[in-house]
C-alpha cells in the first residue's frame, strides 16, 4: 500500500542523515508500527509520507502513486494525521475540530454535520460535548477527538505519531483497546510511531524496528519478532522479557487445557487422596455439575473437613479463553494452587494451565 524506496533524508546543517537508504513496505489494512530509540528517524520517516518532511532522495508511493504527484496540501487531506500533543485547535469546538478536513475539502454543511455526529458516536464522545472547547475535555477525550478528526474524511491511510503518549497508563490502555476495536471494523492502513515497545507489540500487526540513522533492523509480526529477533540490537531493544511479551500475544483459547485434579463434590476421602497423588498436588478442585467453584487443600482435610461438606476456597483468578497466556502466568505465580483456572462466560469450568504448559508454548 505504502512503499518507501531507498528513501534518505539529511536535514540542512546536519552532518549525518536522519534516515539513510530506507526501503519499507507498509501493508494495506494493517497497523505498521515504527519503533526505535530516539534519533532513529521514526517520526521523520512518517512525516515523509505526508511530506511534512521532503526526502532528500528516494521515492514514496501510496497505492502506486508517487506522493510528489499531488500538491502537498491535497495529499495531506487524503491522509489522516494524529500527533502526540494531539494538536487539537484550542479555538475551535469539538465539532469544528472534527470537521476540519471535510471543511478544507469543501463538503456542504449538512454532510459535515452528519459526519461529525457519526464520528463522535464512533469514538464514544457524547454529542453534548460537540460545542465544548478542547480545554474543557479530559486527556482521554482529547485523544479520541484527535482520532475522530483524523478519520473525518475517511482516509484510507492514517499516520499516528505517539497518539496515546500524553495520557496516563490506565487511560492509554483503554484508548489502545478502543482503537484496536475500531481498526477491526475500519481496516485502515496505519503507520503508528512510538518509542514504547510494549505499545508496539500490543498495537502492531507488523513492527518495524529502526536504528539510529533510520536503519531498518527488522520488519516482522510481533510474534515473529519476539520469537526470532534478527540481531543483537533487536533483541536488546525488545528487552529481557521477550518471553513474557510473547505470552501477552497468545490467547489461552489456542492452548490445550488440562482437566486438572478435579473431584465431584460427593467424592470420598480416598478418591481425593488418589486424585492428589495422580497429579502430585496437595489440593483438588471441587466440581458441582459443570461448575468448579474452588478447591480444597490437604491441610483443610487434615484439619477435619469431611467430604462432602468441605468449604471450597475460591480460585484467586478466574480466566477467560480470550485472556492472554501472560495473564495466565500471572495467575499461576500468584495462586496457592500454582495453576490458572479457565472458565467460559457462563462460569462453566473449561480446564487449567500450569507453568509447564505455558512455557512449552513459547519454548517449542
Amino acid at each position: 500500500m505504502i512503499e518507501l524506496e531507498h528513501v534518505s533524508k539529511t536535514f540542512p546543517g546536519s552532518p549525518s542523515p536522519a534516515v539513510e537508504d530506507l526501503s519499507l513496505s507498509i501493508a494495506e489494512g494493517e497497523i505498521t508500527v515504527l519503533v526505535g530509540p530516539s534519533g532513529c528517524g521514526k517520526t521523520t520517516t512518517m512525516k515523509m509520507i505526508n511530506r511534512l518532511v521532503e526526502p532528500t532522495s528516494g521515492r514514496i508511493t501510496i497505492a502506486g502513486d508517487d506522493v510528489t504527484k499531488l500538491q502537498a496540501f491535497e495529499l495531506r487531506r487524503r491522509i489522516g494525521y494524529v500527533i502526540q500533543q494531539i494538536g487539537l485547535f484550542p479555538h475551535k469546538t469539538v465539532g469544528e475540530n472534527i470537521a476540519t478536513v471535510p471543511k478544507l475539502l469543501g463538503w456542504d454543511q449538512t454532510k459535515i454535520q452528519t459526519r461529525v455526529d457519526e464520528l463522535m458516536d464512533v469514538v464514544e464522545i457524547d454529542v453534548s460535548m460537540r460545542d465544548r472547547y478542547p480545554s474543557e475535555l479530559s486527556g482521554g477525550q482529547r485523544q479520541r477527538v484527535g482520532v475522530a478528526r483524523a478519520l473525518a474524511a475517511d482516509p484510507p491511510v492514517m499516520l499516528m505519531d505517539e497518539p496515546f503518549g500524553a495520557v496516563d497508563p490506565i487511560v492509554r490502555n483503554n484508548l489502545q483497546d478502543q482503537f484496536l476495536a475500531l481498526q477491526q471494523t475500519l481496516r485502515k492502513t496505519i503507520v503508528f510511531v512510538t518509542h514504547d515497545i510494549d505499545e508496539a507489540v500490543r498495537i502492531g500487526d507488523r513492527i518495524a524496528i529502526l536504528n539510529v540513522g533510520g536503519v531498518l533492523e527488522q520488519l516482522a509480526t510481533p510474534n515473529e519478532l519476539l520469537r526470532n529477533p534478527a540481531n543483537p540490537f533487536v533483541s536488546d531493544f525488545l528487552g529481557t522479557d521477550r518471553g513474557i511479551k510473547r505470552l501477552s500475544l497468545i490467547p489461552i483459547s489456542t492452548v490445550a487445557l488440562d482437566p486438572g485434579p478435579i473431584v465431584a463434590g460427593t467424592a470420598s476421602a480416598s478418591d481425593i487422596a488418589a486424585m492428589m497423588s495422580r497429579y502430585g498436588t496437595d489440593w483438588v478442585g471441587v466440581r458441582t455439575g459443570t461448575r468448579v467453584d474452588g478447591w480444597v487443600g490437604l491441610g483443610d482435610l487434615d484439619a477435619g473437613a469431611v467430604p462432602p461438606d468441605f468449604a471450597a476456597r475460591p480460585f484467586a483468578t478466574r480466566l477467560r479463553p480470550n485472556s492472554s497466556l501472560k495473564e495466565a502466568l500471572d495467575a499461576v505465580v500468584s495462586s496457592h494452587t500454582s495453576v490458572a483456572a479457565v472458565f467460559d462466560e457462563h462460569e462453566n469450568y473449561l480446564g487449567m494451565l500450569s507453568a509447564d504448559t505455558i512455557s512449552s508454548e513459547i519454548v517449542q
Binding site: 500527533i83 500533543q85 485547535f89 484550542p90 479555538h91 478544507l104 465544548r132 475535555l137 479530559s138 499516520l159
Partner: protein, 218 residues
C-alpha cells in the same frame, strides 16, 4: 492660580458642546492612530514572525521612534507637515508601532507548534492556516497589545494640543494658559475616563473574539 472652587460646574454646563466636540476629536485621533498603527505594524509583525532576522532591525527602528520625546517630535515635524492632522497622526502612530509589533509577534510565536503541525499535516495551505489557525490563536496577546497602545495613545493625544489638535488636551492647554483649574481638571479627568472606557470596550471585544480562551474545564 486663581481663587475659587476647584471645578466651576457652571463652566462645564455651558461648555457641553465643546466637550462633545473635543470628545469626538479625541476619539477620532485615537482610533485613526491605533488603526493605522495596526495597518503598519501588522504586516511588519507578520514579516518578523516568518523571518527571525528581521525582528532586531524592526524592533530597533520602532524602539527609536518610541523613545523620541513627543514634544520634540511634533516640533520637528511642523516645518514639514505644518499644523495638520498628518503631523499629529505621524507622531501618534509612531508611538503605537513598538507595542503593536512586539505583541503581534509574541502572540504568533505563542501558537503551539503542535497545533501548527497538526494544521499543516491535515492539509491547510499556509495562507489559510495563518488566517484560520495562527491569527485567531494569537488574538489574546494581540488584543492585549491593542489595549496598551490605545490607552497610551489616549494620553498622548492631549500633547497634540500644541499643534492645534489635542482632544481634551485643548482644555488642559487653555487652562494652563489662563490659569483656569476647571479646564485642566476636566480635560485630565475626561482623558482618563476615555482611556478607561476604551480599555473596557477592548476587554469586551477580546471576550467576544476569543470565547475559547474564557472557558476552562471546571
Amino acid at each position: 492660580m486663581n481663587e475659587g472652587p476647584l471645578v466651576r460646574w457652571d463652566w462645564v454646563w455651558s461648555h457641553l458642546d465643546d466637550i462633545w466636540e473635543l470628545t469626538v476629536q479625541h476619539v477620532v485621533l485615537t482610533v485613526i492612530a491605533v488603526s493605522l498603527g495596526l495597518v503598519i505594524a501588522g504586516p511588519l509583525a507578520y514579516y518578523g514572525y516568518r523571518h527571525y532576522a528581521a525582528r532586531g532591525p524592526i524592533t530597533w527602528v520602532a524602539g527609536v521612534l518610541y523613545t523620541i520625546p513627543s514634544l520634540a517630535l511634533f516640533a520637528f515635524l511642523v516645518p514639514f507637515t505644518g499644523l495638520s492632522i498628518l503631523t499629529a497622526e505621524i507622531g501618534l502612530v509612531g508611538y503605537t508601532l513598538l507595542i503593536l509589533f512586539r505583541n503581534i509577534v509574541a502572540g504568533l510565536d505563542a501558537v503551539p507548534d503542535g497545533v501548527i503541525e497538526a494544521a499543516t499535516g491535515m492539509g491547510y495551505t499556509d495562507r489559510r492556516r495563518f488566517w484560520e489557525v495562527e491569527l485567531p490563536l494569537a488574538m489574546p496577546v494581540i488584543i492585549a497589545g491593542i489595549r496598551i497602545a490605545t490607552v497610551t495613545t489616549v494620553g498622548l493625544v492631549t500633547v497634540t494640543s500644541l499643534i492645534s489638535y489635542g482632544g481634551y488636551g485643548k482644555f488642559i492647554l487653555q487652562g494652563l494658559n489662563r490659569f483656569f483649574n476647571t479646564q485642566i481638571i476636566i480635560g485630565a479627568v475626561l482623558s482618563v475616563l476615555l482611556a478607561t472606557v476604551a480599555d473596557v470596550l477592548l476587554i469586551r471585544l477580546e471576550r467576544r473574539v476569543t470565547p475559547w480562551a474564557q472557558r476552562r474545564s471546571e
